[in-house]
Symmetry: C2
Subunit: 203 residues, 2 copies
Amino acid sequence: MSRSQSAPDSTALTPVFDAEREVVEVVGRLMEFWGFRRHLGRTWAVLYLSPEPLTANDLADRLQLSASAISLTVGELLQWGAVKKTRVPGDRRDFFVAETSIWKLVTRVLSQRELALVRDTAETLVRAAAALDAGRRAGQIDAARARFVRKRIDKLRLLSSVGERLLGAFVSGRTLDVGAVREVADRDGIDVSVDGDEGGADA
Amino acid sequence: MSRSQSAPDSTALTPVFDAEREVVEVVGRLMEFWGFRRHLGRTWAVLYLSPEPLTANDLADRLQLSASAISLTVGELLQWGAVKKTRVPGDRRDFFVAETSIWKLVTRVLSQRELALVRDTAETLVRAAAALDAGRRAGQIDAARARFVRKRIDKLRLLSSVGERLLGAFVSGRTLDVGAVREVADRDGIDVSVDGDEGGADA
DNA sequence: CGAACCTTTCAAAGATTTCTGAAACCTCCG
DNA sequence: CGGAGGTTTCAGAAATCTTTGAAAGGTTCG
């Protein structure tokens, strides 16, 4: 079929070796676990294990997916910078290569996706705390209860700021002192328990 | 407080304040993002924001879920230790409380779920590498290509071991030197490029 | 011991998410 | 220009994952 480049030797087109397939699948699972579609991982892995760039068709063959599915998948990978598009002079088709610096990929996702999430969460928590205070001032809420909820929200806020810091440090390659972070989190835990009730660490 | 309803004051039963609801939703999203069902997060959050233990029924009311859904959800939360079951003397019903040490929860999930995943991945990679070598020795595979794939698999292996180390350090509260880790990952990146072809780090 | 009340289980219904095939779009070549 | 790939879009089909209602299972109290 695709006579030209992408696959000079026959082995490359036959159902890939078991080894290769296993890797592709495991990467797929990994990515899925990470919140991406499984096929994103599988697709990236196929490219990653290929010495030459592959066409959409090659991918469709190896992954047993339709052309449209490949288009979608590859599109998303391109957006994340996990794959690059290449063109070969005499050939109309698009060729794809995997970005090989996994570290770069990981940090990119962390800083775009996860960080956004954490920020969003933090923002919501702030808003919630404000709303609560407003209600409290207006006397619409049982005071004791409001105080309790407020404390819990504050703990969540602290946590989210810790998370944000961790992510930030991680992404920028700084050193993380997890011990210190944990201390903060735990200290707060105790705070809450004073009011809430549980004091003992348990099992 | 104890006997009849877990919620002595009316406010506790009425559709929770906006503030509370917002928090519940945001935690739900967070958990969903983390690979749990959204309702696990929502359920935990409701308990976390409640001064008193709640019954399955209370939860069903506030979360708009059926009794069976609550049972499932709470069951899973119990398994993760995110919620504890309590009983009140004169009452047949089960009451639930949220585990408040979020740090404990996070590390538990990391060490049980994520670490297992990473280990599993590592194992698969080893197996794949072995299979590849076997095929190579048997001469069933194009040698150059086999070498290439082998290198890539090795890089993935390195990565996974780095991940395992990071997780381990994180969980046990040690200090992580992300910088060092990254260096390892990158050094390897260069290694591969020698053989593969890409030399330039890019944008 | 048996009735009352909860909780859990499980097959089926309901929602979502993902994939596909057909058609619309491009782009490059002749 | 006209056409032959190749790629993207999109609505519907298919596969998955969730939630529910009903029934079975357990406990507690009288």
